[in-house]
């Protein structure tokens, strides 16, 4: 069962009130059958023909521990329940957003000298970001790509003289940053940054998450804009702007998230098909599989943000497939 399908099914079940645990936001993930299966096959390969059930379970638990020991340990720490003996209670959550910085084949972004490695760049994921994909990309980029591409940039950069920190560009950026901080500090409203961040997260989760619709996305865009207005009217950043201030550290990315969130909604609204991690309810097969539209959407989009009042501009890069044939995913 692919993870995206399983995740949507878990959320749907909980939305319908079938969830377990006091919050109702969980479904069971039961390893007992897998433990017996692994144990049986381990017993067979060890030549133990009349293994007792207890022996099989013990062997099976060892196999599971080899595979997922660290995850099971984390789960036990969080919940206080032993996942080898009791079914795990799970619920899908966003921990990655499938997209990132534009890079060329040398992993250099559109800013010369700024290289992006690992999952902050384009990312090699399809409908699912599976376990260890992050490691895979971090290792591949860091071990096999960058050491062999950064040299070209560095060899050209070696003759660049020391850059003077009093140049006009530095002064301008410093002024801009100072103004942004002063603006946030001066609002003096009544709501915490955390509360806005949570509300924005909820909008994204509900409307720009595992499944999306035209109506939902249209409504979400409006909600984000209203929330952003409220943020700049009523946020409270404690402390001072010129000292160690973790709340101010939170406030700056939180302010950026309104822009990023809106761009993600705009992109999802624009892409009138299901593709990879983007599942549009309007575009699915009878069996609930993602239905791509390779005629109209065979491109990747990078969005240029132009301030709150202007519409963002889409820069598209068409995808050409010379050596492979475009197909749909099928587990049958």
């Amino acid at each position: 069962m692919p993870r995206d399908v399983a995740s949507r099914a878990a959320k749907t079940a909980c939305d319908e009130g079938l969830g377990v645990a006091p919050t109702g936001l969980a479904v069971y993930l039961d390893f007992s059958a897998a433990i017996k299966r692994y144990g049986q096959s381990k017993a067979n390969s060890a030549g133990i023909h009349n293994a007792s059930e207890a022996q099989i379970i013990e062997l099976g638990e060892k196999v599971v521990e080899e595979k997922y020991g660290n995850l099971f340990e984390m789960y036990e720490k969080i919940t206080g329940e032993n996942p080898y003996k009791l079914p795990m209670k799970i619920y899908p959550a966003v921990h990655y957003t499938m997209g990132g910085l534009w890079v060329d084949y040398n992993l250099e972004t559109n800013i010369p000298g700024l290289f992006a490695l690992g999952e902050c760049n384009f990312s090699d994921h399809g409908a699912n970001r599976l376990g260890a994909s992050a490691l895979m990309q971090g290792l591949a980029d860091g071990y096999f790509v960058l050491p062999y591409t950064i040299g070209k940039f560095l060899s050209g950069d070696i003759s660049t003289p020391k850059i003077d920190a009093n140049r006009a560009e530095f002064v301008a950026v410093e002024k801009e940053t100072r103004e942004r901080i002063d603006k946030l500090m001066s609002i003096g409203g009544s709501q915490s940054i955390e509360s806005f961040h949570r509300r924005l997260g909820k909008i994204m989760w509900d409307y720009c998450g595992m499944s999306r619709t035209t109506e939902g996305l249209t409504a979400a865009r409006q909600m984000i804009r209203e929330l952003r207005d409220e943020f700049y009217r009523d946020v409270f950043v404690p402390g001072k702007g010129d000292e160690f201030n973790p709340e101010l550290e939170k406030a700056q990315p939180a302010a950026d998230f309104f822009e990023l969130g809106e761009l993600m909604v705009v992109d999802a609204l624009n892409r009138n098909e299901s593709c990879g991690g983007h599942f549009r309810e309007e575009s699915q097969t009878e069996e609930g599989e993602a239905k791509r539209d390779d005629v109209n959407y065979r491109y990747v989009a990078a969005w240029e943000y132009r301030g709150w009042k202007e519409e963002p501009i889409m820069h598209r890069e068409d995808l050409d497939f010379d050596n492979i044939e475009l197909k749909s995913r099928s587990y049958k």
Binding site: M74, K77, I78, Y148, G151, P238, P246, E247
Partner: protein
């Protein structure tokens, strides 16, 4: 879900130059919260009262980044074994408990604010030798450097160190030997790290001494408090590496 009414005695300190003191706060938490979530609740309450929230460090909240650093009831990362503060859950406390929360206390880790200490000394130790050199040019084949499973596992045992600094906070001498030895072992056990092995151990130990960490006197509190269970065997390995390196070519 059982609710917990707790008294927190938290260390408040404006910066490294000002004197700090304990401040008492009441907080309501539930047993499913992590320790950091409980502190989030306290901070939201303080912010709603227009008071300064408590500064503490956190990032992944999954026990792998090493950012959370505080001493809870006298133990770095709290009383649970092999657990980081973010993985410590409130069900391990009782309704009505008083919990003492302090920053790490070590000369080499000056307090920045409240529970946040400056652990840049660790970064400088890593900069002194915690790296391997890689040639530019054509990439080599992925399987050109085979590593035995045992060897890889032992290197990984060292690599599990998340650099949180609990070992320093636990040690009566504020020694950083467990941290440095985990990093030295991790790289010394792998073929990629062999080239600079002799130079690495000497530079890292030298930087450790320069930062003002104390000496190791085999108390082994570091191992007991380490959230990743890094073994003091690494210290023995580092000492061997160090002596061998000094005999070969003193830097």
């Amino acid at each position: 879900m059982s609710q917990l009414n707790l008294s927190l005695k938290i260390w408040r300190q404006k910066n490294a130059n000002e004197k700090g003191s304990f401040e008492t706060h009441q907080v309501e938490a539930n047993e499913h919260m992590s320790f950091l979530e409980m502190l989030d609740v306290l901070n939201e309450k303080l912010i709603s009262e227009k008071k300064e929230p408590v500064a503490f460090e956190h990032d992944c909240r999954e026990g792998i980044c090493g950012a959370c650093s505080m001493v809870i009831n006298g133990h770095p990362h709290g009383p649970q074994q092999k657990t980081t503060t973010c993985q410590l859950h409130m069900r391990h406390f009782k309704n009505g408990d008083t919990i003492h929360i302090e920053p790490y206390r070590a000369g080499a880790f000056p307090v920045i604010r409240d529970l946040v200490v400056d652990r840049a000394a660790f970064d400088r130790i890593i900069q002194a030798g915690g790296f391997v050199s890689v040639n530019t040019g054509q990439p080599q084949d992925a399987n050109a450097l085979p590593v035995e499973k045992d060897q890889a596992s032992r290197a990984f045992d060292g690599a599990e160190c998340i650099g949180c600094g609990a070992c320093v906070a636990a040690c009566p001498n504020a020694s950083a030997m467990l941290f440095v030895s985990a990093k030295v072992s991790h790289l010394a056990l792998l073929p990629q790290g062999k080239v600079e092995a002799a130079r690495r151990v000497q530079s890292m130990v030298k930087q450790m001494d320069l930062e003002g960490f104390g000496n190791c006197s085999n108390v082994t509190a570091c191992e007991a408090e380490c959230p990743k269970g890094i073994s003091v065997e690494n210290i023995a390995r580092m000492n061997r590496e160090y002596f061998a390196a000094v005999l070969k070519s003193e830097e």
